[in-house]
Structure formats: C-alpha cells, structure tokens
Symmetry: C2
Subunit: 230 residues, 2 copies
Amino acid sequence: MDVGAVVCDVFGTVVDWRTGVAREAARLLGPDVDAVAFADAWRARYRPSMEWVRSGGRPFVPLDVLHRESLPSALAEVGVAAVPDDVADELVLAWHRLDPWPDAVPGLTRLRRRFVLAPLSNGGVRLQVDLARRSGLPWDLVLGAEVVGHYKPDPEVYDSAPRLLELAPSRVLMVAAHTDDLAAARSRGLRTAYVHRPHEFGGDPVPALTDPGADLSVGSFEELATALGC
Amino acid sequence: MDVGAVVCDVFGTVVDWRTGVAREAARLLGPDVDAVAFADAWRARYRPSMEWVRSGGRPFVPLDVLHRESLPSALAEVGVAAVPDDVADELVLAWHRLDPWPDAVPGLTRLRRRFVLAPLSNGGVRLQVDLARRSGLPWDLVLGAEVVGHYKPDPEVYDSAPRLLELAPSRVLMVAAHTDDLAAARSRGLRTAYVHRPHEFGGDPVPALTDPGADLSVGSFEELATALGC
C-alpha cells in the first residue's frame, strides 16, 4: 500500500467513550446513578440522533447539540428525572474528556512520522481539539463530520479526506474499530484498517476479531505502526 | 483580553513567501531568471485571482489552482515563455515549501501551551499541512479558506474560527502582518494583533510599524507570547 495519510475514527477506536462518560457521570450525578448504564443509554441514542440529519430531515448540527438533545431520555432511562442546565452542559463536555486506549498515543506518534494524521469522526471540531490537547493525540489537522456538514456514513465525509489532503482515495487509509465505518470508507475508494477493541462495550459480546474486507486487521495502533513500517 | 484561541494569517505573517518562492524558482528555472522578480510578479496576481472567486464569478477553487493559472503570465513577466507541466507543478508546490520567520516556531510553541492555535489563511488545507510538517509549526488544527469555500476578506472565513472552536468571537485573536486582514477580522468581532514584518516585500517601503486599530502590535511571535503571558 502506498499510503500518504491515515485518518481515524475516534469514539471506540482511539478513545474509550464508555469509561470516560461513566467517569464524568459518576462525578456529576453522584453514586446513586448507574453511570455505566447511563453511558450505554446515551450512546444508544447516537445513531438515531444522526439519522434525522442524515436523512435530510433537519440541517446539520454538531454532535454536541445532538448529545444535549438526547440527554434527557438517556437520564430518564437510569431513573434521573432532570438535571440543572449547568450539569447538562458539563455532561455534554464529558465527550470532550475521554481517555485514549493505552496504545493510541504511542502508535499514532509513530504513524505521524511517515503519514499525515487526522481524526475522521462524527464528533465536532472543538471536541477533537479538546481530546487531542488533553491527551497529546498528535493530529496534523482535524477532519470529519463538522468540516463538511455531514455525518458518517455519508460519502461526503470519506470523500473530504482525499480531497482536502490532495491524495488519491487509494492513498488514504481509514482506521476504525467498526466494520460498517470501514465498509463505507471502502465504497469511496479508501484503504481500510480494522483495529480490534474488545472492551469498547464492556462485557458485551465482541462482534468480530478481524475484518475480512479490510486491507489490514490489527489489535492496536502500535501494531498498525509496525505493519506500516513506522 | 480573555483569549481562548489564536488564529494566524500565514503568507508574510508566519512564513517568508518571497525568499521561499525565489529559492524554488532559482532551482527550477535556472540562473538566467530573476527569481525574486518572478516571486513578486506571481504574488502580484494573488489578490486579483481570488477576486474572481470572491465576486461569485466562479466557484471556489483552492489556492493551488489559482497559482497554477496565474503562473504563465508571471513567468512571461520575467521573460520565460513556457515551462513543462512537471516544472509548473513543482513551482506551485514552492508555496508548500516556505520557511517560517525565525521567531515563528518558538513563539507559536509558547502560545500553544495556553491557546488553541490554527492558521487562518487563504492557502489550502494540504498547503498548511505541508508547511507545518516541514517546519514544525505547532497547529492544533487547520482552519481557513478551503475549509469554508471562501477567501479572506470574506466574512465566512473569520466567522468560521469562533464557530468551529465554540468560542465567542471576542475570545479569538487574529494575528496578521496586514492591516486590511485585521480590519476585516475586527469587523466580525475578533480581537486582533498586528505583527510587523519589515522584510516581507524585500526592500520595498514598509507601510506601517504598528496598527492603531489592533488590540496589540508586536515585532514577532515571541513578543506576542510574552504580551499574552505565555
């Protein structure tokens, strides 16, 4: 593969959203709330909330707005009736304060020596900047949904990476822990690497250990760096 | 000033376009061409070429495309009739290979400790990534013309910084060596800092030593970092 840039899904692939959201929820909602169940309940509303934008039913709004809108029903699911506005705002910022998986920063740092490196996430621009500054994610730039006003798996998001980086699609490698994200990237001509994240959903069943459709399947960003000769 | 992000003009403000373009022109066109005169001739076509886009006369195209289109007449001005396509392509890439002024990397590195840092340039996304990777410009992300499909001084470019960084306009500080760029930023509510670059145009007269309209006028990015307490 003659790769020039590596673009990465972020939630679940680079950062551990479940542990991070649960940590912030425990801090903000107290010990009587099941913080992990709340994290799962909120995440379950992620795709449906984007679907309304993706179908053209409403104009694009950043993910923070969708998170804010889906918060009350996620709270209700764990028995919290309502929270003050300032707590709700802080909970939305939990998604800006997620820790990377342990291999992410060392692996990405190695990859950046050879490749242009960017997130290609449904999270907003500010969210990506906050995650990166908090943990030292070594992105060259921020790409993704908010830059183009579309959510993955809309083709506009995948197409934006080769367009803005002035590379053929086959020279852009998309990395994700989710086979559907990779399939959508492949349909736009990008190369794909699957990274296995068995702990993304806690104790839930693991859907796949490798992605037979991907160019590469690895267990970490460090393994990916080695596979690409970094 | 309660600043959260510092966004920077690049050509002339962060990098020395004249010396860099002349260096690449000397390499690619040989010793019989006046490389500095060629750099000036090419740069003189920069604003008119964007004007056609800004007036709505044609759809947005990245600066590389405008540079490519204005190249033949700039070459003609210094007595070069035509060059092969591969030489023309390499000349366009001269704008991706400009050196920063000596204070830029140390000053920006200090500023980044406290502030989100991004270019806000009419240069394209790939161009900014190439400049940054070449010289270690420590941007958190790339903002600017190509991200929004408008050229400065269109308001869309200035407005994109507070919007994508989720800050009030008054918490974004625009830095430039050009008073018209700063005036346009101020008209959109941004704070402004003028950095004096007496050598941008070689021996030509220097238009201003300070900008009375700006919140700050400094002689370098190091001075700016000191003024902002970094």
